[in-house]
Amino acid sequence: MKIMNTLTLRYLKANKKRSLLTFLCIMVSVIMMSCVGMAFSSGKAFYKSYIEKTVGDYHYYLFGAEKEVGELIYNDPLVDEYYKSDIFNLSYQDANINVLSGDYAYFQKRNLQDYVLKGRLPVNKYEILVTEGFLKQNQIEKNIGDQIEFDNGNIYTIVGLMSIYKTQDYFFNTYQALTYIDENQPIILYVKDKDVSNRIFDHTEQLENQIKKIRNTDADGVGLVYNSSYLAIQDIFEENSKSSFLNVYKMIYILIGVIGIISIFIIYQAFHLSTSNRIQYLGMLSSVGATPKQKQRSVYFEGFILTMIAIPLGLIISYLGLSMTFLIANQMDLLKNTGVEIHIQISIVYMIAVIVLSFLTVAVALYIPARRISRISIMDALHKNDEVKVKKSKLQLNSFLKKHLHISWQMALKNYKRQGRKSKIIIFSLVLSMCLFITVFSFSKMFLRTVNDNSGISDYNILAYVPLDNVDQINQILDSQDHQSYHFISHNSVKVHINQDYLNYQDEMTDMSIAVIDQKNYEKICQDNDIIPTKNQALIYDTPISIMDDNGEEETYSNLYKKMDKNFIEEIYFEEYDGENIYQRQLENFDSIELLHTEDEWGISYSYEITLLVPIEYYKNNIREDAAITYYIQSDDADSLCDELESVGIETVNIEENSQYARQLVQLVQIFVYGFVSIMVFFTLLNILNMMSASIEKRRKEFAMILSVGMSYKDMTKMIFIESFIYGIKTVIYGFPLCLLIEYIMYQVSPYGHIDFSPSWIAYIISFLIIFLVMILTFKVGLNRFKKQNIIETLKDDM
């Protein structure tokens, strides 16, 4: 037995390059599989603590919870933790401030102690902290310990000074004062359940029913809001959830699946190549009396040695690599600012799965050649006749080709044909590499798009709420300034009677949305669709809409409009609420309705009801005068523009800081994703290199012989180039539709499935280039070795 092991080890050493490639293939497969898993779980953990820090670690909150509802929660055995908070406005001599209140637990959760500049946190509802700015701006000469009376008569004792507190939760507010919660008022109650699973939804349903009983009402909407990102990051989703997390997870699972399958193939292929190289010497061994068992054991021993080093090393490298990456990421300002660090997370189950999968693959990859080796006849093995035999007739070229093709073309074609089934395996492997690359590329593209869409990055940095009457005035201000752009969109809901003949949609009276957009964009939309703008028209995008039917099932209608020759609206009503009753006010009907053919680039159309885009004049003449319109403004100098707008009494929100922050986050994700794509390119290269160098090694002797009978290097290069070309073309022919299909499937599960599908052409071009280049390069390098080596050495060298 020992001699066999010595032999194997020496064989590995003698074929250093091959062994190294086999080794690398296993290792990189392990690295890829473990890295995706570790990065996924680390990212999840990071995002979880990020949400905990910015939004909170609660599962849901109850808005406007009165004492009885509070009691319900406090005594609920299913509740793990709860904390209380409230937000309200106070004015001091007509200067408004936002006040945040909370209980001790809330202060702790939000690290509010860090905002206390002087003094201490409030301990009862008569104590308050205020910002120095508030005191200064309003020339209030008060100090810690003094009492302050607000316009509503509330008197507080100032117990400390604080810095301005900005939340990143759903309220996105800035607070200038902090006090203790007043439990006699309805409050916001943040709740964390004990059972962190889908049962949270059963629990909340129960709670909702109990709250309805307490409030003695049947109306839905008890003010329960889920912390859905926080739940989603812990794999908790509502039934039929449409969360973008689910889509991202699905994409990641597909990615893991693709990487897994390809890793299996690559490990298999690596061993397959390395054992078929050994076939001759195994033949020699058996000719002097090595038993099949001895031979098989030698094959397994080789695999065992390589795997035993490659798997742990792969795991260690992935661990170190990711740790390093995270370490660097943690040093970046961006992560430092969030105060959350990313740390490596290992899912033991996943890692064990990776190890078992790798081992199993190696075992299977070895079992098949080991069996083949013991079945092949010794004489065949000695003559290296392990190649699949191709019928001689298949090797014949037709006489036309024979006459007109240069000998290098003929040789290349024959070489390709001779490979028989093997050429199919090479092409299959190349196709897989291509698929892997394109899947990852496509995934990255979509992932980045999802991140971008959900990051809160916007193309505006100021929000302004402008009363309808002030629109002209504000437009003037904005138009007179340089370096800024703006647009506005506003929606209102209306009730509409429709003519049934015109719509593929059965409902006499239906809800619609009436939308208005700024004049510039309105005119542009009209122009793009060859419509003459009038003062009394409605424009409609033909986007599909999904409507919940009575059974709560969603139905999607596309191609909604049968014909558009006439206005299909018979009557249109606006619903108004005067504080007690809702009553309907009839609106002016439109002169015309036009269907738009361009893309809805502003996202005007809602997905659940028909949206009528109307000119601003119509809006002004028909909708409530006190309606406010939201302006989205992008300005180079957000601060001073905000000041200017505020000076004319317009409420503004400066979100410059938020979007800057989101942009940084996206950049960080991009760095990770591009790093991942680079690893993938490397892996693809490795696989092709492995395939090609194996094929060269096998044919070294043959090449030497061709050279020895006088083929020139130039013709030989040509021959090799042509062969590479044939492989490249074949790969493209098979790979292209397959990749398109995979990309299409990924697109379907992604959040963009319903939008137009566009293949990543760049990735296709890159992969074509990679395949051609690597094939030619490996052949070239192989050839150069011949140039240096003397031909007879190669001929003598049996392996």
């Binding site: 001699i3 020496r10 003698a14 058996s286 002097v288 009396g289 068992k293 001689k392």
Partner: protein, 227 residues
């Protein structure tokens, strides 16, 4: 007692129009201790016959019986043990393992058997084969004749009862060739081995007890020249 019986041995290569009948119903018997020379023109099927006797090829039909055991009824395992213990095959094209040294190549059948190498015998063989100074060399560092001698050494190392030699002196000069033939004859006598040797050299063939002439895969002549 017959050590070897060959019955209706047939070997056909290829299919259909590419068919080559390398051996065509060959039958003969060999007694223990005999020295047989096989002669015949190139491509007549000599090597094929030898490979089939040595259990390294598979016949299309027919039987090979060595020491009363039907070689091709053995399973793979038994066949391997047969190859390593009962026959010593000297190939026309050496078949040395390129990553093993001379010494390792020669002792391979013993090592595969997990037995201890008989150092005395190894030294003796190395001396007679004139490989003493080359024992740590790799095959590719040897001349053709030296490689041939290593493969002879490998075949004789285990002192098998049946030695099959495919032109063992094909690459050697007359002095060397005489020594090799003497060595083969000597060990044959000493270990009561049976020696079957393919040769193109008439003078070597004449030293045999019996000459078998093969032509187109058939035995054309089978003549005992010495008792």
């Amino acid at each position: 007692m017959a050590i070897l019986e060959v019955k209706n041995l047939t070997k056909i290569y290829g299919h259909d129009e590419n068919q080559v009948v390398a051996l065509d119903h060959v039958s003969f018997t060999v007694e223990k201790g005999e020295f047989i020379a096989i002669v015949g023109s190139s491509g007549s099927g000599k090597s094929t016959l030898l490979h089939l006797i040595g259990g390294v090829d598979k016949p299309t039909s027919g039987e090979v019986i060595v020491n009363g055991q039907n070689v091709y009824k053995k399973n793979e395992n038994e066949l391997a043990i047969f190859r390593r213990r009962e026959v010593g095959l000297i190939y026309q094209f050496y078949n040395l393992i390129p990553i093993l040294t001379v010494e390792e190549n020669m002792t391979l059948p013993v090592l595969l058997d997990n037995k201890k190498v008989n150092q005395e015998r190894l030294d003796e063989l190395l001396r007679i084969l004139d490989l003493k100074s080359r024992e740590k060399h790799l095959p590719r560092e040897l001349s053709g004749g030296q490689q041939q001698r290593v493969s002879i050494g490998r075949a004789l190392m285990n002192a098998p009862s049946l030695v099959l030699a495919d032109e063992p002196t094909g690459n050697l000069d007359s002095k060397n060739s005489k020594e090799i033939i003497d060595l083969l004859k000597l060990t044959q006598k000493r270990y009561k081995q049976t020696l079957i040797m393919i040769t193109h050299d008439e003078s070597i063939a004449m030293q045999a007890d019996r000459i078998i002439v093969i032509e187109d895969g058939k035995i054309k002549k089978d003549e005992v020249i010495r008792k």
